[in-house]
Amino acid sequence: MHRGTARALFELFSSMRFAIALLTILSIASVVGTVVRQNEPFNAYLSQFGPFWFPVFEKLGLYSVYNAGWFLVILAFLVLSTTLCIVRQTAPMLREMRSFRERARAASLNSFAHRAELMPAMAAGEAVARSQAYLRQAGFACRIADNGEGTLLAARQGTSGRIGYFFAHGAIVLICIGGLLDGNLPLRLQVWLGDKHTTAGNQLIADIPESARLGLDNPSFRGDVFIPEGRATSFAVLGLGDGILLQELPFTIALDKFHIDHYENGMPKRFASDIRVTDRHSGETTPHTIEVNKPLTLDGITLYQSSFEDGGSRLAIKARSLLPGRPGVLREIAGQVGESAEFADDRAGFRYALEFTDFKAFNVEDMGGGEAPADALRGMEKLQQHLGSGAKAAGQRDLRNLGPSFTVKLRDAAGQAREFHNYMLPIEQDGRWFLYTGLRDTQADAFRYMRIPLDEGGRVDTWFAIRDRLLDPAQRNALLARFAARSVPPAGGQDATREALVQSARQTLGLFAEQGYDALGGFIEQSVPAAGRSQAAEVLIRILQGLAAEAWMMARETAGEPALELNPARATYVNDSIAAISDSLFYGAPAWLQLDSFTERHATVLQATRSPGMPLVYLGALLLVLGVFAMLYIRERRLFVLVRPGGALVAMSSNRRALDVDEAFRNHVEGLAAALGAPVPASLTPEGA
């Protein structure tokens, strides 16, 4: 390269302007990474940005900004620029630190902003000695020289603060280099240069090819170690782009137990993994407990409690039929979270895969409805509510443990899946008890919940029996006849009325069995003028209630149980049942899966890291703090006293222009004046202030 060009580049890269431009670009680039969520699965981006922008953003590296090539280039330039800056500043800084500038002339001292003329009341020799004593006492290092115009006392203080510059800027370089070592650059270099390839994440460890495995000699990595209770592993999984690499560990980690402790109010209190680590070479096993904020370091690898998942809990499930005419339990299924089971029935003609995706033994939810009753209060009363200790909230938070729940995906032959979230235990609402079951069609939706009411015996059986009788066409005639007979007793004649009632009940039931309340609503809207709609709706609902109540009694009869009086609580039960039946028509599954019992099994997710850059970064951090404080708070001051015939010229300079320099100068002039027995000059204001 041409020498001139090299010189110019050096000038540019080591210039303040370039550094400031880099800092600005770095800030803006960093913002991008906080706006676009980082390192999500690629299909999440695809659905977020659409097929056109998705590949564009991928090329730009926006899904992993801080590992993108261009971002690393900016960082590299920052390191370069800071390094060159240090190189460039070293000689002048050292010179500054060492020099006393004892050759300064009166002319240059006179150009200082802070200067004063004193009239010592003593001979020159004495004045020099006294000035020197003052300067020493004031904490200055001092040189005395004859500059031809008189005796110059050149004193300085705080020049060591310039070390701060080297500390702080060297620290930036150290931190960046350490950070690069610990980032995923080493990993990507291995992929490029070492013939490694990422592979898909969802395979068995045994199936992962050699090309996606990293050996013990890998100097820098960060990966997840997933271990179900009672199992062991000696691998960490490293994510890179949309694939994974498998990192071998020098030990085997077995998880004995994963603990989740809760506070009384249900908030999580402690996550801890009881592990046993077996060294590959010595075969020695040691027990450890890893907790959040309490990591464990072994063989230069640090293990952290990162998160937890279900590790294959076993679920005993009853599939209770929702098929009209097929009451009862269709099948009993033994499921395991993370696995899938076949769920098929030839007679009904369905075939599904049941994928058990999650299980939770605790579900703490706020059932308080969110609204603080304090909203009803005004002014002083509301203020009163908020006085006192911080222990209470005016609004009633109602945290409740809803007990175990599981999620399952029901996948049909076409691959379409619907997801269900079922609670094992009933949940109370307004004094009534329900079993909740949620469903959704895509991961992006929230679950919509259907609530199945419990009968007086605390079971769901009654609801299933009522449902079956209402929806099964084969039983419809019998139900209608019973209903009509109860409403218009045969003994009273009125056959025509009864026949009319049967007709409308048949029609109501027919509509309801198809689409629930929706169908009835649609029917009324179509066939009844607006004025009569609410009355018509009331009639239809009355009929539906009558039918449901009758279905209930018939079910009891079949079971050999006595009939019941219909009191208000039972009427509510009937209404809840009808609502749930209406919802169940959109359930989209042939059965409701009832969780009978479970054996919980957690899996812990530890993070295993080897960070060779960490000592550099920590050293850099220490130097940075020392450097910043030194630069900002060690005040460099140079005080000159030129004792010459006719007076003493006092001048001060500082590397920082701030008001405290004025103050310091005033103090020193006053101090020197006192030492020299001279009057204090009237004005010490620096020029241009």
């Binding site: 303040m16 550094a19 400031i20 800092l23 800030s27 960093s30 913002v31 990474g33 906080t34 706006v35 390192n39 003052y134 006492q137 610990d182 506070y263 109010n265 908030m267 999580p268 209190k269 402690r270 907790e291 959040v292 904020n293 309490k294 952290y304 990162s306 998160s307 603080a372 509301k382 203020l383 908020h386 006085l387 006192g388 200790s389 911080g390 222990a391 209470k392 609004g395 938070r397 993070q607 890291t609 960070s611 970064v617 951090a621 940075l624 910043v628 404080f629 900002l632 920082r656 701030a658 008001l659 405290d660 004025d662 103050e663 103090n667 006192a674 004005s683 010490l684 204001t685 202030a689």
Partner: protein, 401 residues
Amino acid sequence: MEIARSTPNPGLRPTHPAGAVLAPAAPTPRTHWLRRLDAIDWLYALALAIGAGFALHRYHPVMDVYDDLILVLHVPVLTAIGWHWKPFRAFLAAVALLALASITLYQGELARAEQTFLLKYLISSQTAIMWMSALVFIATGAYWLGLLARSDFGERTGSALTWLAAVMGSTGLFVRWYESYLLGPEIGHIPISNLYEVFVLFTLMTALLYLYYEGRYATRRMGAFVMIVISAAVGFLLWYTFTREAHEIQPLIPALQSYWMKVHVPTNFIGYGAFAVSAMVGTAYLLAARGILATRLPALRVLEDVMYKAIAIGFAFFTIATILGALWAAEAWGTYWQWDPKETWALIVWLNYATWLHMRLTKGLRGAVLAWWAVVGLLVTTFAFVGVNMFLTGLHSYGAL
């Protein structure tokens, strides 16, 4: 002599909070600093040492070695602050008295907050924080009155009320700390763990930093501006209390059960508070530079100097805070830096002020540009402080835990 007016000789002298100039007849900057201490200074240091000794003796069984160390370190640090900044001694004494009074009145029973008049209406944590809020608003009014009506009385009142607000807020936080232990020993924790608590902390820190500069520069004229940002914080705090019931003490989730939290958060808020002060002083500068309120505000070079001092101290502490955050992250999440939005925005804030300092100190930039920059800096800082929590989703796996 006040530096606030454009007197021909705007020298700089530390003054008494009451405004009296402490100008020694013969300046004695060379007297050894130890000899400049008075009896109250020694009494103050002694009280601190005795207090720490008592706490150490009494609570030793429940404290670990870090607790002991931090407790002991507080003595020299608070002594140094009090010796350097005299009004701080009275402040700390008032806070200690009120907090101890509150604890005594509680007698170990939370329910007494409702039964004891003094607790219910003065020194239980919530009440004290409400007092702080009210005092901040009144102080803001007083400062503005003082500024607009050129009333020294208004400014003195503003200053006194701000001190009182800081006393009540600090008392509130200390008592809240105690109350959390009354809820249950396992629930007890230092009250800097959620947005509500740190807003109280922010209010305190900003007020104290401002009060320091007020004394250091012997002018109360900047109060009107600085109090605006403190009032805004209190406004948010009240909204958060009344509509979200955010003041309820909650136990700590596992990720927050760390020693680092106790040092990281307060350090951060020295930074945030200082940046807030610099931005408000910057605003005053911009107005004064255009001739608005110019005769009532301190001289431009004073405003500029305060702006620089505030940014310098803020930057230094923000540097430490970010490093402490990284150390904590390393322990809790396994990496000292993972470009989580909060971390990234902290870096942006830091780079912003690093650039500001370079512009001023190495390029010699001065004036309106730096003032504008300080104002914009506060917007960036505010986003890093609350915006990130509101608008961006973190990648911490602990969100899920």
